[in-house]
């Protein structure tokens, strides 16, 4: 068939499709309700057929370029991502995320060791030799910590600011740290190891120093509740980073490219879960942990409850549905 005849036969169909596609770009909802949108998948496949014919018959660029452009536009519409659904998010948080954490337990255990060992060692060293605090922190930092956890402070854990301000600060700061821990794992895992270790030394150092000078009470009362979410999330984000770095070093029986894509997919889900945990942690830290007037029993009781909740969720969450869904 000659080109002119081919164009004359199909040009109306192409024009229709083109105008529908440009209407879709302007008013997506309204256009999708039109009757024509029901016909779109088959119209698109006919268009692909026309392009293949035009290519095979060596038609001029005038025709093939136009069809190619239309096909490319149509491809984006036909294969667009599905609309997000809330129940997918909920299922992920309740069941999918703990399952993912358990399936990546090696990396996460390694991250936990890299974080808790430096923390506990620093804590023990600070208790045994309190003067070491001055080698880890500057005196301005020490003064700041001491002011925050002074037993006479009505709002423990902060030197100034309201609950809302601190919530914003905790989200910005802690989630940023978790995301960076994950991402810097791509540098052969070195970044994640560094961030985990440095935070371990920092947190262990503060805890040890404050306990050594007798401010341990307010400090532990402050951190016991939100640390369940905060430290677990940091360790999980670190584990995701380690996984990324390990995949780069030892991709196993895969090429590095596909192996990295798979690790990135898992890592992003872990990072998103850690993000959700850190939002909860920031909320607890800003609105609950800072209340100084509660008794020790309430403080430590709620802390223990939250720790059991987090660990139980990560340990058992989604287990019943592991074969279904």
């Amino acid at each position: 068939m000659k080109q002119e005849r081919f164009v004359a036969m199909h040009v109306r169909e192409w024009d229709n499709l083109q105008s529908w596609l440009s209407a879709l770009e302007r008013q997506p909802r309204r256009t999708l309700r039109q009757e024509q949108s029901l016909d779109f998948p088959s119209a698109y496949r006919r268009l692909c057929h026309h392009l293949a014919l035009a290519r095979g018959r060596g038609y001029s660029h005038e025709v093939t370029d136009r069809l190619q452009r239309l096909v490319q536009q149509g491809h984006l519409v036909l294969y667009r991502p599905p609309a997000p659904r809330w129940h997918v998010t909920a299922t992920f948080l309740v069941a999918g995320f703990p399952r993912l954490v358990r399936s990546q337990w090696r990396c996460i255990l390694a991250a936990a060791v890299l974080f808790y060992v430096p923390a506990l060692v620093t804590l023990a060293l600070m208790l045994l030799r309190p003067e070491l605090a001055h080698t880890v922190f500057t005196s301005a930092q020490l003064a700041d910590f001491e002011k925050m956890y002074d037993p006479s402070n009505p709002h423990i854990g902060r030197s100034s600011g309201t609950d809302l301000q601190m919530f914003g600060f905790y989200v910005m700061n802690n989630v940023g740290i978790a995301f960076r821990t994950f991402a810097s794992g791509l540098l052969f895992g070195v970044g994640a190891v560094y961030v985990l270790g440095a935070n371990g030394v920092l947190i262990g150092g503060v805890a040890g120093h404050l306990t050594a000078i007798g401010y341990g009470g307010p400090f532990w009362r402050f951190v016991v509740a939100h640390s369940a979410f905060e430290l677990s999330a940091l360790v999980i984000a670190g584990g995701a980073g380690l996984r990324l770095g390990m995949t780069l070093l030892a991709p196993g029986r895969q090429r590095r490219g596909p192996a990295l894509v798979a690790a990135g997919w898992i890592g992003a889900q872990l990072a998103l879960g850690a993000f959700a945990m850190l939002l909860v942690a920031a909320f607890i830290e800003a609105y609950w942990s800072s209340i100084a007037a509660l008794s020790d029993a309430v403080k430590f009781g709620s802390g223990a409850l939250l720790w059991m909740l987090v660990l139980g969720w990560l340990w058992r969450g989604g287990r019943a549905r592991s074969h279904g869904a």
Binding site: L76, P81, G264
Partner: protein, 226 residues
């Protein structure tokens, strides 16, 4: 490395041609996005400052959202385009040419942390220069690609002329070459057109301008014009 076009075969058996975008337009898009974000933050900070100290918390939350969530939400909701990318005619797509989805977008934007590392996008720049499709590390791990979404300018149309039948039957690729010559002749100098047309003297039996006219007429016949 010079040819940045990535051909992807779709389930329909058609190949999509994706034109990978290099470092320069992407840097421009990023700069624009940065300006947009700073502007939003600046404008929002004015009413938020009325809330006093608590307003600071809201400003911090907004900063967080602009820093981490803005690129992800823009890319997923606006078919792979942040405002900066839209202005530059760029688009983020998955490796199979479909619009970018949530997880790949999260990965590529979180891994900016690595790409941005020494100074301003040092790692990312090296990666875009080395990779055949100009992907930065975040794109490689996410399995995404930044492409030029704007359309290429349409080529010249073939000048219409009274059709003259070809004296012999040409193979399909020979026909295509003849049609392309007729389409592109307008972009060439007259001397170059004559030089090319004279190669086909055995077919046309003519030389120079007459040969050009004859070839265009025959191309018109190939397309089936009267």
């Amino acid at each position: 490395m010079i040819d940045t076009i990535r051909e992807i075969e779709t389930p329909e058996g058609i190949s999509l041609r994706l034109r990978a975008a290099g470092a320069l337009p992407r840097a421009q898009a990023w700069t624009l996005d940065m300006l947009v974000r700073l502007l939003v933050l600046f404008i929002a900070a004015i009413p938020l400052s009325l809330f006093g100290v608590g307003g600071n918390g809201l400003v911090l939350l907004l900063t967080f959202a602009l820093m981490w969530a803005y690129p992800v939400f823009c890319e997923v909701w606006w078919h792979g385009q942040t405002p900066g990318k839209r202005a530059l005619g760029l688009r983020v797509v998955n490796a199979d040419g479909t619009p970018v989805t949530w997880l790949p977008s999260v990965v590529r934007n979180l891994l900016r942390v690595v790409d941005i590392l020494p100074g301003v996008y040092g790692v990312g720049l090296v990666s875009t220069l080395v990779d055949p499709y100009a992907r930065r590390l975040g794109d490689i791990v996410a399995g995404t690609l930044v492409i030029h979404a704007s359309e290429l300018p349409a080529g010249e149309q073939m000048p219409a002329m009274d059709a003259i039948a070809l004296p012999v039957v040409l193979a399909v690729d020979e026909q295509a070459a003849l049609v392309e010559f007729a389409e592109r002749a307008g972009q060439l100098t007259l001397q170059r057109q004559e030089e090319l047309a004279n190669l086909l003297t055995p077919l046309t039996g003519l030389r120079d301008t007459a040969a050009i006219r004859r070839l265009v007429a025959q191309a018109n016949w190939l397309l089936g014009r009267a």
